[in-house]
Symmetry: C2
Subunit: 127 residues, 2 copies
DNA sequence: TTCTCCGGTATCATTGAGTATACCAAATTT
DNA sequence: AAATTTGGTATACTCAATGATACCGGAGAA
């Protein structure tokens, strides 16, 4: 019985440790204000610099430029340059980029229901 | 046809705008390195200061203290003080705190599969 | 009585994320 | 011809988040 419980708790502890590390890894990769909105924008089909910039409230050209370079190095986006094409520079999402889909979905869900939560609170307190 | 397409694109654009805002709200609330690991730790049943601190690699007492105060103000944790009890100070999760569950789950999933991805890459290149 | 543990706080230093602003060359529009 | 748009870059700066370190009173153990 003792042995069983000990093993159980040791396993639980190891699991928790692994999960915290995984969580911290993800936070590290997605760190900052802009990576997730940019990933979201590109996965939504925005391909041009200005298009992406206009789809993200508050981002400056400098930050977008920096993050895009960074993300290109880390295989999160593919940048294509073809000066003869109608649209000379294209940003496209990679499979790796798409792997953040579930996280983004959950964060959007939370944000929307949080807004509703706030709105309900307000109407309740005013009435 | 033109009208239909225009309406469609306007609706899509509004949807995307709402989603970006929701995403940015969530990022704002969860900003920083520590909020999510702390929420995770408390939701996992850790109740004491040292317990929480030991469950999160790299966090200092100062940061934990600051974040816990902040989170108490924002109704993310409940702090109970009872000097006569066996365990005098307790941190507990609130319903609001638990609403981040899906996000945390997805981030843990991503982190774990990312680790596996890296490991597979390594074994492939060495062989 | 001294030592250690618990639950923190105070102070100072650092640093990098983000901002503001100006600028650029090429293409397109007016 | 002049103005605007696109896809950025360079420089300088700010400031809030984080880290390092030392310290604190109370409780219990050695």
């Amino acid at each position: 019985m003792f042995l069983y419980l000990s093993i159980k708790y040791i396993l639980m502890a190891r699991n928790q440790q692994e999960e915290v590390r995984a969580l911290q890894d993800t936070i590290y990769v997605l760190g900052g204000k802009w990576k997730l909105p940019i990933i979201n924008s590109i996965c939504n089909g925005n391909t041009r610099f200005k298009e992406i910039q206009q789809s993200i409230p508050g981002i400056t050209a400098r930050m977008l430029s920096k993050e895009l370079k960074d993300m290109e190095l880390n295989n999160l986006v593919k940048r294509t340059e073809d000066r003869d094409a109608v649209i000379p520079i294209l940003y496209e999402s990679t499979d790796y980029c798409k792997s953040f889909g579930p996280i983004i979905t959950e964060m959007i869900n939370w944000g929307i229901s949080h807004r509703e939560h706030i709105r309900n609170k307000k109407t309740n307190t005013t009435v």
